[in-house]
Chain length 344, copies 2
């Protein structure tokens, strides 16, 4: 029996719209904000929460790690597949992963929403639930501290995540050294597989999933879940830093493309072992949106949660990444070039 | 002679599109990012700039002030009136004002751009120039430390600003006390006047301004400039805090609405003097987007740049704001309710 909740949203979708669920265009900004804020309690780093011109967040290391990433309807998601809860979860997760990839602990999220007037208030409520639950599950102590709301013809969720290095140096992409182990924590290619299942089985403009779970096998259901509600290993970012990671980044555009970026930044070649890339090496190399953590470590023991997938070798001209010694060509995706491409 | 540059963009708009100015949809994300980054040098607070998963920004006070605000084409601006430079400047300025309103010094901006495919690369370059110049002019030392880029049917600029309290407590909206002076630094109603001039004289879908400066009188040109490229008194936020401000906020939705918010948060009534509101008191009360700083101070000397506009009195039921003793009704705008309303 396939677990139905793994395929679609764990957050129940109302079958009928309650009478008190107005369109966003019909209610005041204040009511929308209250709907969000009642669902997103302060985190332990919030010194001053929402309600003023700006929030104040603790920065114990006297520095703050900051990143921003946006989900836009069309290039980044389809409304037929992603409910509000899914979108809140994913928008949080992808930003938390960027903080973790620096070796930092996430402390706060700021959320800028641009919402079409004809969306329901319950959609925004579900978004807020998704943000809260993703923080609680992936980065306890982190919370939504501020936001902004505007109307737009296109649904857009721009999130900024903040984090603290806990006194450590930031782990950049440029520190990989010859002889280091290359290791990964998290999924490889599963989110991209989930997207391909969605495109193949459910027309993007068609019926919202969950539809009939009987049509999905278990691997497909898991893959769809990885696409809609990714679970990157946020807590392992600081662990990797403590274990002496020399370089780290999150894999958002596929292992081939992102390992190439790390190799270029470090002036080395990353030599991957095909046998370590799982049952579907091409998916692992080309598939984006898993938000796994790719890191290099001095040879020896790896931190818990990381598995060895290759090693760092001296730079091979025109071959930033190899797989079993063969250069890996341009795989992965450039979200700009491929935006909206149904073929991906 | 009207100063032409004050009405339209100070940044020259190309009359013809150069051959090497491709559409955004035709170039790689990397090229767009390089176009931006070559125009936005690191600031003094940037410990690690763009190019990694996240930036690292100094937070000397061991806390960080953070806010986010978005400009969306349609509700927030018209492409016919605002060039890329104007939009970059304004998106920076409105966020810097929220940091200043807490009594903090801005340290960094993160910029999430969602850009239609048919926009030119030069548009994004002008945006970056606007961000840089606004930081340099309004908050020296602050810089763009990170960003995100995606394609979207709707142009959207979501900015997060960070700031440092320099060891002081944050100035909230809730600290106004009976007997305090109410003071303001910056413009009152000029940006809204500029918007009304634009709506009246230049159809939003029509010819881009600058058109014929001869049709504008000097006050109108200044008002349009205040709307397109506001110059809020960012540096006076920390000054107000040093001078003992008891409450502070930025006036983005008009003095009546925002003073009412401060009054509600503080449990007082703000009693304004009409004579202190300039030649157009209604504009001052109702007009948004000036991003002036509204602050309360213990009675006595005001800091440089602030002028007295009223006093804090005990709460009058149902009258958070009065003007010459008369309750001020609901004025100002709710950007949600009024989005796209040409009548504003």
């Amino acid at each position: 029996m396939v677990d139905f909740s793994a395929a679609g949203s764990a957050h129940p979708r109302p079958q009928t719209v309650p009478e008190d669920d107005p369109h966003i265009g019909e209610v005041s900004e204040g009511r929308v904000l209250r709907t969000i804020l009642t669902r997103t309690p302060d985190g332990v780093f919030s010194l001053l929460g929402p309600g003023d011109d700006a929030a104040v967040v603790a920065a114990p290391s006297a520095s703050v790690v900051a990143t921003t990433d946006t989900l836009v309807e069309g290039p980044d998601f389809r409304a037929a597949w992603s409910g509000g809860y899914d979108l809140g979860w994913k928008a949080a997760a992808v930003n938390l992963a960027d903080i973790a990839a620096m070796g930092a602990r996430p402390t706060a999220l700021l959320v800028a929403l641009a919402v079409p007037k004809d969306r329901r208030l319950s959609f925004v409520a579900a978004l807020a639930d998704g943000f809260r639950d993703a923080c609680d599950a992936l980065a306890p102590g982190c919370a939504v501290v501020g936001g902004d709301l505007t109307v737009s013809a296109t649904l857009m969720i721009a999130v900024t995540a903040l984090g603290d290095l806990e006194g450590r140096a930031a782990i950049t992409r440029s520190g990989a050294r010859e002889g280091d182990d290359v290791a990964l924590a998290g999924e490889m290619g599963r989110a991209a597989h989930g997207l391909s299942v969605l495109f193949r089985r459910f027309h993007p403009e068609g019926v919202a999933i969950p539809v009939d779970p009987a049509v999905l096998d278990e691997g497909e259901a898991d893959a769809i879940s990885a696409q809609l509600r990714p679970v990157p290993p946020i807590g392992l970012g600081p662990v990797a830093a403590i274990f002496g990671a020399t370089a780290m980044m999150d894999v958002s555009d596929g292992l081939a493309l992102d390992a190439g970026r790390m190799a270029d930044a470090s002036g080395v070649t990353i030599a991957l072992d095909r046998a370590a890339l799982g049952a579907h090496p091409h998916r692992a190399l080309a598939g984006g949106e898993d938000h796994a953590l790719l890191a290099t470590f001095p040879p020896g023991d790896l931190p818990p949660g990381f598995r060895r997938i290759g090693s760092v070798v001296p730079r091979i001209p025109d071959a930033p990444v190899t797989c079993d010694g063969e250069p890996v060509g341009p795989l992965g995706w450039d979200p700009y070039r491929d935006a909206g491409a149904d073929a991906r």
